[in-house]
Amino acid sequence: MLSEIFVEPFADMVAAPDFLMQVLWEGLVSGILYALIALGFVLIYRSSRIFNFAQGIMVVFAALTLVGLHEAGVPAWVSVVLTLGVMFVLAVVVERVVLRPLVGQPDIILFMATIGITLFLIGFGEIIFGGENKVMITQELGIPTDSVVFEPFGGLLILEQKDITAAGIAALLVIGLLLFLNKTRMGRAIRALGDDHQAAMSVGISLQTIWVLVWFIAGIIALVTGIAWGARAGVSFALEVIAYKALPVLMLGGLESISGAIVGGLMIGMLEKLFEIYWGQPLLGGNTETWFAFMLALVVLLFRPQGLFGERIIERV
């Protein structure tokens, strides 16, 4: 038994290094997508202390809007622009109709409001787009769909070009986001609001404008995530459940840290894949990905309750 846990998995890794590389690549791709979803949560939490339960359905809604517009005859890249417009309108409506009337309410009320947004978007989306699985317009957007095949160590390593593209776009998005938050006035305003609402407002930062902005950025992230996930297995409301995969990422990386979301996402993506392949499937019958990330996050929380990158808050009473 001890050999099955401590020796054989590593012997398997050494015996088939090409397979190990494939496992790591698949984990990396999953991790990037988890990180993207987690980023949407983090951004909104940093600026408003709202845990946005609607982030998952925003991914579905953005992807369905894109595909729906294209099905209606709109050219692919015009559909992207129009979808961004829809996500902006959604951000404005959420701020005006849901968040503004709830300013000053306890966090749990705002959290419940985002559950309401989720339920509304599910119903509204199903009325507009129907519940059928739709094909993502990958080729129309110019995303390559072929595979790149390598033969490392005489083995086989298959990299999907759309996964490589998704990884590249995600990296650009994160860099852009970091530059925006650190180098622009608006970005600094978002961070200031996250640190202290009252102080930020006292120096003229508009709560309403910032909330619209962060929900819009979360909408952009949702669209990118929706394209990347949708290219893998189609676009349907089933995509929403993927958002739950971001929860352990947030527990691990901390709710307020952008770097935490990225590192946490990549860590969980790769570790859960390694565990599933080398320990889960041979020893536990597989399907460990449903719980492994939560167990990992739980262990981290035992030692760092604020997550790996979260801020340690000391409250004196």
């Binding site: 699985n133 298959i158 297995a233 189609g234 349907s236 995969k245 392949i277």
Partner: protein, 429 residues
């Protein structure tokens, strides 16, 4: 006194009118799922079911002179909501159509008490075939064990089973696990290696780990028990990992045109066992168009109506309608109740001639139910994706009913013992 007589007369008239009104329709609810992660597969099935009943109501004035009130209660494929829907509709229902193995298992004991037949065509708990134990449950025309048996026979006819390795990719849910007892038994008997590979609900669209395992195990065949978004996830991963599609076979719920549309030509060769087939030129399709689609009463569309799942929805409602008709004929009443429908479902005899009368030749194999056989074991055809649609690539395959019956009796007894005191149908010999 005259006033009292008038009131009495009015009450009698009202009572008669009321009973006439209730005799004009029979209530047949459907626990549907047009929303949620499984909606993509549910919608065409529900549309087919509804259109067939709407066609009967419009063309024939219903069945035997009474219209069918086909009500949908939305479950989103959630077992909890399904049980709520069952409780909400059971009051006047003559049947319950639970539409999920999870919901079926939950309502199974309740139907004994409420005396409502469960109609679960091609799904639910395979031992429901044993009518001695499961008096109120019907899964005609084929059970999951029938499906597993037909798939194994097909593989055996192609490459032989002995010494082969078969990966069983399945949803980690009661539905996905349902054929395991039969497959395990056959693996031991026929000398092939079975590798069960579960897919969690949250992993349906990200099955890279499962397909890495398939790459490592190098199975000769992959047999899939998938549903909803899991099908699309698996088929796209199979294409991505360059698994030979002609060695990838799904159960009938994994043969949905829209899932294969995602990969198109690259999915060529993928197979699905099926007890239904869409015959676009069948007379029933013309009637559906004339009485439901043209008046604007269908929620379906032209493309969906050409698919396997829409056609299967029609067949499912046909089974219900035939059960109602059999009960009406036997009991000599149009407004049958749940107990009478139970008799009808237990005495289905869908022959080739009857299918021709219904305008459904080739859409389902003939089958017959009885007190001791609530499934009918119709058999099915192996369908293959040709890059644009599913086509039949086999003659009618029949399940090994002897092997299945023995296991049905064994597992039905286990179920009854585990849920004792369980009422048995002593009328069944």
């Amino acid at each position: 006194m005259r006033m009292t007589a008038k009131l009495l007369a009015a009450a009698v008239v009202a009572a008669v009118a009321g009973s006439t009104a209730s005799a004009e329709s029979i209530y047949a609810p459907n626990l549907s799922y047009r929303t949620g992660p499984f909606a993509a597969t549910g919608i065409p099935l529900m549309n087919g079911q509804k259109d067939y009943i709407d066609m009967l109501n419009a063309r024939d004035g219903g069945i035997g002179g009474v219209t069918v009130d086909f009500d949908e209660c939305e479950t989103g494929y959630s077992t909890e909501k399904g049980v709520e829907c069952y409780e909400k509709t059971k009051g006047k229902a003559i049947v319950t159509q639970p539409w999920s193995t999870g919901i079926t298992l939950q309502v199974l004991p309740k139907t004994n008490v409420d005396e409502i037949p469960i109609l679960a065509p091609g799904y639910g708990f395979s031992p429901m075939a044993d009518g001695k134990v499961f008096k109120w449950a019907f899964n005609a025309p084929s059970s999951y064990w029938d499906g597993a048996s037909m798939i194994l026979q097909y593989i055996d006819s192609q490459d032989g089973l002995k010494g082969k390795k078969i990966a069983f990719l399945h949803l980690d849910h009661p539905f996905g696990k349902e054929p395991l007892p039969f497959l395990e038994k056959k693996a031991a008997e026929q000398g092939f290696e079975l590798v069960p590979i579960p897919v969690g609900l949250k992993e349906m669209q990200n099955q890279s780990a499962q397909w890495l395992q398939i790459r490592r195990e190098r199975p000769d065949y992959v047999v899939m028990w998938g549903w909803g978004a899991m099908n699309a996830g698996a088929i796209t991963e199979a294409v991505k990992t360059k698994f030979p599609m002609d060695h990838f076979i799904g159960v009938w719920w994994s043969g949905h045109d829209a899932d294969l549309d995602l990969v198109g030509e690259e999915g060529k060769g993928y197979k699905s066992i099926s007890w239904s087939f869409p015959e676009l030129d069948a007379p029933v399709m013309a009637d559906i168009k004339k009485y439901v689609v043209d008046p604007g009463n269908s929620q379906s569309n032209e493309k969906e109506m050409q698919g396997v799942f829409y056609g299967r929805g029609l067949v499912i409602s046909m089974i219900l309608a035939e059960g109602i008709k059999a009960a009406q004929d036997h009991f000599g009443t149009a407004a049958i109740d749940a107990t009478q429908l139970r008799w009808g479902l237990e005495n289905l005899d869908v022959t080739e001639e009857r299918l021709a009368e219904l305008g459904m030749t080739g859409m389902v194999p003939p089958f017959k139910t009885s007190c001791s056989d609530h499934t009918g074991h119709s058999g099915g055809w192996m369908l293959e994706w040709d890059g644009a649609k599913f086509v039949k690539v086999s003659d009618l395959l029949k399940p090994e009913t002897d092997a299945i019956a023995a296991l049905e009796v064994e597992k039905a007894k286990e179920y009854a013992d585990a849920n004792a005191p369980w009422p048995m149908n002593d009328d069944c010999n």
